[in-house]
Symmetry: C2
């Protein structure tokens, strides 16, 4: 167990003493309903970005709101994308430069979805802070503010130069971000040595981890149209081949009852597992029963820890999210929907290329459609995609982060991968060519994208200390020559 340097003690004390202030700041952030997928909430996303700008400026960060253009919709309309914040603090050529990324937009949420409290009001109960965005990703994102504040207000020297990158479209495919990052590759991002993203979760509820891999995503819309208007099922039922039954037949060709993807070729590029990788899964601290309980699922698709982790991290999965255009409200309505859009997505793993996946999905659906011989019209769209991301967990950047974690949590972190997608990780690694590390703050049971999303106060405060120690250790590491 390494002795904690005294500067960290001072910083940790500051964080501890300012706990309530930091909680109140999260309260403000959560109260802004910055739902990026909802056009009606675009103004709130922009408000959120402006609020963050003010916070950064107050901490002497040189920051700017970057216009990233227009979002185009399928009906031809456009809407201004929320700006991206790029900010800098420190310019010491002796110090390494760390770029931290976070997002300030959130998934939709409503009381009627089954929340116990207003999703846009941070409600504290039993050490947990409930609210949309508390853990994904407002809590972690604004913690970087607290880290900077701690250094500033304790007159401790910042051990690194900091670059900030905060966006407002992550939950909607980070639209417009890549283009901005690429255009700033040789300017704003030129001197960046390390990228740190805190936008994922621990594997369990008690042990911290560092994450070196993420799955990618291809999101599909399958649209079937049978008529020029919605029809009354009494008057027309029995005379028309209904779009809904066509769509259901198509969606039913995607998965078998064990969750296996039935699309031919989908496993082609998936990496063969090596004995070393196999062994790694056995060493991970993971409680399969706690996981099962957390989901409230009667039975998982895999009983063994290793198989379950592999299913989450290194194999693709397919989920059918819902159908747009049908009757989806409570109660009964005897409608024959004229047009229905099935929505499903595939999580990609390393070496799977989105373009190729799009092609095999399209081929499969078209083949099934022809087999069915429907007279209705079919339209297949891939609505966003990103490849998987995998880094080298033996890189010194990872070792530095592990050491930082040990100062706070007094344990070595697990090295994990994640099933979700953070497209910007691959942009930073493959396009901006910087070493990326994911430093999760929240616990596995935080319920990101779900009802009653929360962040534990403990994870928030200790996580802020962890980020502080991370900057300290990266400072010692120096510039990235690896």
């Amino acid at each position: 167990m390494p002795t904690r340097p005294s500067v960290l003690n001072v910083l940790f004390d500051y964080i501890e003493e300012n706990k309530n202030k930091f909680i109140n700041k999260l309260k403000i952030a959560v109260s802004i309903p910055s739902v990026s997928c909802d056009q009606a909430h675009r103004k709130d996303v922009i408000k959120m970005m402006t609020w963050m700008m003010d916070q950064l400026t107050a901490l002497n960060v040189t920051a700017e709101l970057h216009d990233i253009g227009l979002q185009e919709f399928s009906n031809g309309t456009t809407l201004k994308l929320p700006p991206v914040i790029l900010g800098s603090l420190g310019n010491d050529h002796e110090k390494p430069t760390v770029c931290v990324y976070g997002h300030l937009d959130v998934q939709p949420a409503a009381l009627s979805d089954g929340w116990n409290t207003d999703p846009f009001e941070l409600v504290i109960k039993d050490g947990k802070m409930y609210g949309r965005g508390s853990t994904d990703d407002k809590g972690p994102a604004i913690s970087w503010l607290h880290v900077v504040e701690a250094f500033k207000n304790t007159n401790s020297e910042l051990p690194v130069n900091l670059k900030f990158c905060f966006e407002g479209m992550e939950e909607s495919g980070s639209e417009g971000l890549d283009k901005l990052l690429i255009s700033r590759k040789d300017t704003f991002f030129k001197d960046v040595d390390y990228v740190c993203i805190s936008d994922n979760y621990w594997l369990g509820t008690s042990k911290p981890c560092i994450t070196y891999g993420l799955r990618g995503l291809c999101y599909f819309f399958v649209e079937v149209t049978c008529a020029s208007k919605d029809l009354h099922s009494g008057i027309y039922g029995g005379t028309i081949n209904e779009a809904m039954s066509d769509l259901i037949a198509l969606l039913n060709t995607l998965l078998d009852k064990d969750g296996e993807i039935l699309i031919p070729g989908i496993m082609e590029d998936v990496e063969i597992i090596s004995p070393e990788e196999q062994k790694m899964y056995s060493n991970i601290d993971f409680d399969i029963d706690a996981y099962k309980n957390e989901l409230g699922s009667p039975q998982l698709l895999h009983d063994k820890k290793e198989d379950l982790l592999m299913a989450r991290w290194r194999y693709p999965s397919l989920s059918i999210h819902g159908i747009e255009g049908g009757f989806s409200e409570p109660g009964s309505k005897t409608v024959i929907p004229r047009k229905v859009i099935g929505k499903f997505s595939i999580r990609l793993v390393p070496y799977q290329k989105p373009d190729k996946v799009e092609n095999i999905v399209r081929d499969h659906l078209i083949k099934q459609w022809k087999l069915r011989g429907s007279s209705n019209s079919l339209k297949i769209t891939m609505n966003g995609s990103s490849p998987a991301w995998k880094s080298n967990p033996l890189h010194p950047h990872y070792t530095a982060a592990a050491k930082a974690i040990k100062y706070v949590y007094k344990t070595d972190p697990d090295l994990t991968r994640e099933g979700g997608s953070i497209p910007v990780a691959i942009t930073f690694q493959d396009i901006i060519e910087k070493n990326v590390l994911l430093l999760p703050m929240g616990s596995c049971d935080d319920g990101a994208h779900s009802q009653n999303e929360k962040l534990n106060i403990n994870n928030y405060i200790e996580g802020t200390k962890m980020m502080t120690a991370y900057l300290y250790e990266v400072g010692l590491l120096g510039k990235n020559n690896h």
Copy 2:
């Protein structure tokens, strides 16, 4: 061609002269969003019923708003049902008594569903009055007011005693109505000779009809639950047997690609067609191409007029309406829904019993569920049902109506059946034991339950004349001894 009696000329002139007044009255009725399936609109349904009460009272009808109790919801909450109006005008023992039924509630509607104009504002364009409820059923229902007004204001003697029955829950299974009607069987309804319901449509757009049959309905909810909360598909995808794919597999066992119902036993009680019935379909005036154009469907399930009419009238059909609980909004959301509810309904034909249909549907779904062997939980609910209804089109009541139609439209009406359900028809016929006739006002292309629902001004005004002539002819017919 019989000569039109002079009293009808006077009445028809009055109706013609008061056209704009009647249109304005419909404008008010449409502006009240009396959506019965939406709890938030219950107050509007009640407002609508109160408005109708005031109209009746102003015409000297002795009417009362009857409390029909509470609606119970699956979550245990209750809501007051909208009252039913029962009203009487005239009490002459020499005259026959006609009971007219209508409903004042409507299906949901929103601009975002694809309406060209606000659905709750009556917009007139090219002789068509667009608005939710214009044709289903506010237009026809309030036309009875105009009929009474015409007799009153022209000092013409009403040839029948009138009973009015108006409800506000038809679009939600007429909940609570049957109980009230049964309890008034030997009092309010005791002297009723004939029941006239104007809540359906012509078979085409130019020829009037009288309808002697309706299909029934069994509406099913199939609920599959896989987890205790919605899950992020990145984090959890691949580890859980998702409710959505189970539900889709189940729904896919209901129909084949030609719209044939795959539930064993569903055709068991369907009447075998006789040569007479077969012949009848050939004589009906029906334009299959116009029907196809109206739907905007590339291909119908039947190419021959006779087959198509039989599919609508005398064979059951199954429609899948939608899925509740999944992601059904525009855009993308990477959610694994914890619970999804598939909604489908079967239109019943004469001799099919809802109880039996419920059992065979349940048996089928449970058998398919066992075959799949899912670990998730399944719940099947029949959410409302009504048997089919069929009357005798040779009854003098029908002959009188046909004569009335000829005074207005100068042609013999077609005798038709309908694919939709009006549960109250069977209550009046089988339980209250009165002869029922359906006298449609609207055209087949009115788009009930659909976007841009409309009623042609012509159908509205000529239909009001038709109702007037109908009362005249029934007056001549005398009491119902048949």
